[in-house]
């Protein structure tokens, strides 16, 4: 009995009719919120998939771009091999130079000597004898100088190094360098080219560098032909 009387206040606390102030005013609004929450479509999942797909697309595009640029770079390296300039002392000449020298000797021996070439050699011999002492001194100085060696940078395609020696003039003959050994020659501006760049066509006509061909020749077809004077024709 005493317990029941003591617990009266607890029963009162759980009776909503005793709390007019605490009763919910707008139940419909609250219910709408719960209903909306319950039946809300999972849009966030769709969004996450969308963003994941977009990220993957960007990554693939970036990878493709990176690989394509790398391929282009490789192609450039193959097309224009770089040359590395190094200075090597004469004492440490590699075996390739020695073999080249041997080749040169063989070529010089095998090639038939023309009359003019022979005469030149014969004519030069006494002069060489005269200035033998002075040349020996110069050669000894030159031999002590380091040689400029141009070596092709190793690429994936050619493993062997092409070596070109820009050695000082040899005692007897100039070294024969084959075109295959050098590779593609670098175009250097010649005197004529530089002149042509500086002066226009008007300047060249005035100075009679460009002239008309003779009329009545077999090649004349009535048109004004402009040919440079320096041409091989």
């Amino acid at each position: 009995m005493q317990d029941n009387s003591q617990n009266n206040w607890k029963i009162l606390l759980e009776d909503p009719q005793c709390f007019q102030d605490e009763i919910l005013n707008d139940k419909n609004e609250l219910w709408e919120r719960i209903h909306h929450k319950l039946h809300k479509k999972p849009q966030h999942k769709v969004l996450t998939w969308y963003w994941m797909a977009a990220c993957l697309l960007i990554i693939t595009i970036a990878l493709v771009a990176v690989f394509t640029t790398n391929e282009k770079k490789d192609y450039k390296v193959v097309s224009s091999p770089a040359f590395v300039k190094t200075l090597k002392p004469v004492g440490i000449e590699n075996s390739s130079i020695a073999t080249q020298k041997k080749r040169e000797n063989i070529l010089s021996q095998s090639t038939p000597k023309s009359h003019t070439a022979g005469s030149i050699e014969k004519n030069n011999l006494p002069e060489l004898k005269k200035s033998a002492d002075s040349k020996n001194i110069i050669d000894s100085i030159i031999s002590q100088l380091p040689q400029l060696v141009i070596t092709a940078a190793a690429t994936a395609n050619d493993s062997a190094l092409n070596t070109m020696v820009m050695a000082p003039p040899s005692k007897k003959k100039l070294r024969v360098v084959h075109l295959n050994e050098i590779g593609q020659p670098v175009e250097e501006p010649t005197v004529n080219n530089r002149f042509a760049e500086k002066h226009g066509i008007g300047w060249r006509i005035i100075n009679a560098e460009i002239y008309n061909p003779v009329y009545g020749s077999s090649t004349n077809n009535g048109l004004l032909l402009i040919k440079p004077r320096t041409s091989s024709n």
Partner: protein, 184 residues
């Protein structure tokens, strides 16, 4: 429609049955939330979250009479309140020496109206209020409270005693004010 039928229909996903259940039980649950949380707006939010969880997990609920629905929903609401309080306040209270048990001024409380009792409880500090609600009103043991709030058992007891002392003080204060008002 009684609660058993409403629960069955709500389990199937009927929005009308769910709304009826909400209308029937929301006021009682609001009072539960108000005992734990001081702010009315926060209590409303907790109520919405609690009902949302109730309807979402209704399929796993086994009906054993009206009382079981009420008890389950109340448990959800209390858990929601504790979660809210944990997020806002910390229950890390220093363990104190176990004081002597103070009797609850039940007779004095019985003289008060329901709203006055609620106001007295709401005015208690968070720690005192939570332990008082869990032990005195809900009937949890100190061991259970210590597990729920992640505090020591002794702390729970000391918090309860302090809550009772504060309630007594407030009751005396209210009595004096009431006596003054009567004399005027």
């Amino acid at each position: 429609m009684d609660i058993s039928e409403l629960t069955r229909e709500a389990k199937k996903g009927s929005a009308a049955a769910q709304k009826c259940l909400f209308d029937l039980l929301s006021d009682k649950m609001m009072l539960v939330c108000r005992r734990y949380v001081k702010s009315y707006e926060d209590s409303e939010e907790i109520l919405l979250d609690g009902f949302y969880k109730f309807f979402k997990n209704l399929s796993s609920f086994n009906y054993h009479g009206e009382a079981s629905v009420y008890a389950w929903l109340k448990k959800i609401m209390i858990n929601e309140c504790l979660m809210f309080l944990r997020s806002k306040h910390s229950f890390i209270i220093a363990t104190e020496q176990q004081p002597e048990e103070i009797p609850l001024p039940g007779d004095a409380l019985n003289k008060l109206s329901a709203s006055e009792i609620l106001n007295l409880i709401i005015e208690l500090p968070v720690g005192y209020r939570t332990v008082f609600n869990l032990h005195v009103i809900e009937g949890f043991t100190h061991k259970e409270i210590s597990r729920m709030l992640n505090i020591a058992e002794g702390t729970s007891k000391s918090q309860l005693n302090k809550a009772k002392l504060l309630l007594q003080k407030n009751l005396i204060k209210n009595d004096n004010e009431y006596a003054r008002q009567q004399s005027k």
